[in-house]
Subunit: 312 residues, 2 copies
Amino acid sequence: MSVFTTVAIDEITPFLHRYSLGQLVELKGISAGVTNTNYFVTTTHGKYVLTLFETLRADELPFYVNLMVHLAQHGIAVAAPIANLQHQYIDELNGKPTLLVPCLPGSVAESPTVEQCAQVGEMLAQMHLAAASYPAKMPNPRGPHWWTTIAPTLYSLMNPQDADLLAAEVALQTQHQHDTLPTGVIHADLFRDNALMNGEHVGGFIDFYYACTDVLLYDLAITLNDWCVLEDGEIDDERALAMLKAYQSVRPLNPAEIQAWPTLLRAAALRFWVSRLLDFYQPAAGEMTFAKDPSHFQRVISRHAQRRNFWI
Amino acid sequence: MSVFTTVAIDEITPFLHRYSLGQLVELKGISAGVTNTNYFVTTTHGKYVLTLFETLRADELPFYVNLMVHLAQHGIAVAAPIANLQHQYIDELNGKPTLLVPCLPGSVAESPTVEQCAQVGEMLAQMHLAAASYPAKMPNPRGPHWWTTIAPTLYSLMNPQDADLLAAEVALQTQHQHDTLPTGVIHADLFRDNALMNGEHVGGFIDFYYACTDVLLYDLAITLNDWCVLEDGEIDDERALAMLKAYQSVRPLNPAEIQAWPTLLRAAALRFWVSRLLDFYQPAAGEMTFAKDPSHFQRVISRHAQRRNFWI
């Protein structure tokens, strides 16, 4: 499904000669992922993941790749990019920019445990601290400016009641500025399928290609909205409490963050409601298969709107 | 034995707060090593090795530490130094410069197999290639200038016959210049106890504190002299052949290297004969216990001198 660019044995072999990773043992396409082509590359030294970037250009990659390098250097559970013999992380294969990283231990936790949610919250906080010394910055391409621009293009496509709710939600967020909250590098897309769990522990956070500079607590809101959610959009109190407590054991929230938390939870849901609506009503060519149910995040927002206890 | 500087729980805990590695689970001194203090530090994130440098100063460490960072970035099996929240690899504890690295898989192979020797040869060649893009340089502090200076201080302490042999060996090396051979960063001390073997594979090369810029093939000579040696100083043909073949599968030797190889094998043995003689006759305070038998490398040289087939 997600091998958009095919790589043959006689193409990977000379490619691997540009690295210090031994001889090819096996090459195998990975079916997960909707944007890039990924292969498992097993060599005499170990098992690696090769990504061929299908949309990002080589000159757009350094922010993300150097961030992964930086976080790995701090012991954060991420795949550390591997440099080629020219000491470049980004190489090229079959006309696409590439990245090679070690294969991380673990698998996606579709129904995470309370302890897994705690470990993810703790690692996320550690990631926020470790990223404080990362020098590069990247505006959030999916922030308030984006959804405020995109949402009105969707109203006429939606049923009027949902469109009113979306417009109201955008208006609500417009009333809140979060300029005074701690900012830094955030993952911005830390859903369950972007983490490999090795038992209770975080094997690795993956897919940093939405990472950007934004409000740190917004990252926790995105994460909690997915990891702690029930099928009906309600949040599981036990998992949410565990995640928040573990996050705060590393980076305690300040009073302004505690005050902003309920709004940020709704902002985090709004961002994905809008992007899923966009995918649903205006799918990019060939992506139709992957469109996810937009109404899920509408329900998440609705539950947050009714909530009185936000686990802090 | 090798915990020279004691670290207590209430000292490591605030130290760990300067990193992104989770909470302390266990702290345990490591008995191996003769120069530095090493501890296993287990946290909620994983198992690490903490080194407190007992002789090297913080300002002497960057060449070695950045080299480890560089090699790890290339996928070479070395422990990747972990940066603290100030993005510094070198920190300080109890007045000593420190380094934290992940615990590598594997253990020391005292009686390496043929396949292990091949894997070490292959990884060493990969290391030489990967280090070519490492920008820093470091003269070899234990090169010809060193042994030519030190050897004469030992003659009067040795029995006259051995002293004559040593003088002859130093004279022999003086007749050979290796200025035209490929140079680069070498480990320079890749004995069996400086590699962790994970089954047949290299779990990691360790102890890079003799690394320097020198003739690449000299590094292979040092390595082969230890990994492929029998108790009587003879070299095991099968292991030596496997190591050389694997090394050359990655970095083929040029004609000048092939010609220099027998002399380099003797130079590599001479360097350790002299340093062991020095440790034996002029031990540094407190190191007496660790003095190794100098005559071992005298026998290695003697065997090399008689050899007609050097496995290339």
